[in-house]
């Protein structure tokens, strides 16, 4: 495996591990609520790194998308990635809500669903890369 592929996989894992830490660590006293929106955003960027890892390994560094639009196009045109379109789009849409809505509202079930989306993408990419 290309070392740069592993770096993306490492980043994906690091992001994934940060999400529960954000949810369950003791809050600073001046933080009045848990930062649910950042949990969603971190899980989305974990998925971004998983896709980058796959593209790096299969098509080289020139294939890494430089924008979300390029990444959607790349995922959309590859039949082997078809099964991640729905969870990836869901994470993307929720991360938009998380980052840009004035008051994003995520229920505990949404956060679990976001985590499940990310894990589903991870399973597909791991299978494709043969790193299960």
């Amino acid at each position: 495996m290309d070392g740069r592929t592993q770096l993306h996989l490492d980043a994906a894992e690091r992001h994934k591990n940060l999400a529960p830490w954000l949810l369950h660590s003791p809050r600073p006293p001046d933080l009045t609520s848990y930062p649910d929106e950042w949990v969603v955003t971190i899980l989305f960027y974990s998925a971004v790194h998983l896709i980058s890892a796959y593209l790096m390994e299969r098509a080289g560094p020139g294939s890494i998308p430089r924008s979300h639009a390029e990444r959607f196009a790349e995922v959309g045109r590859r039949p082997e990635l078809r099964s991640i379109v729905m969870p990836y789009t869901e994470l993307y849409d929720w991360s938009i809500a998380a980052r840009y809505a004035a008051r994003p509202t995520f229920a505990a079930t949404d956060l679990q669903a976001a985590s499940d989306d990310r894990d589903r993408i991870a399973r597909v990419i791991s299978q494709l890369l043969g790193v299960e």
Partner: protein, 99 residues
């Protein structure tokens, strides 16, 4: 002003509008062409997760019917984004009513 939609994009938008016409929770579609993509945003009333996923699956079905167009379909659910979901639609996107 946004560029005029190509025939392919017009067909995609019409197909999405037709598919969501009977779904009362759907408020409207915004779309734009961006490189190889036709981007669509479906803005909805507050809907629960199963309802959102149902609409997402319908959107993917419609997308799959267009083999020569890569459709990038998004949902802005008012339950998650609050009172102004249209405010999150990117600049340059055009509105298309669904009913």
């Amino acid at each position: 002003m946004a560029a005029r939609a190509t025939p392919n994009t017009s067909a995609v938008v019409m197909a999405f509008a037709e598919r969501f016409r009977s779904a009362d929770e759907c408020r409207g579609i915004w779309y734009r062409e961006r490189g190889p993509l036709t981007e669509l945003w479906l803005v909805t009333d507050p809907i629960d997760l199963p309802g959102e996923r149902h609409l997402r699956a319908l959107g993917l079905e419609v997308s799959a019917a267009f083999r020569d167009v890569t459709v990038d379909f998004h949902i802005l659910n008012s339950r998650l984004v609050g009172d102004d979901p249209q405010g999150l639609v990117p600049a340059g996107a055009e509105y298309h009513p669904i009913r």
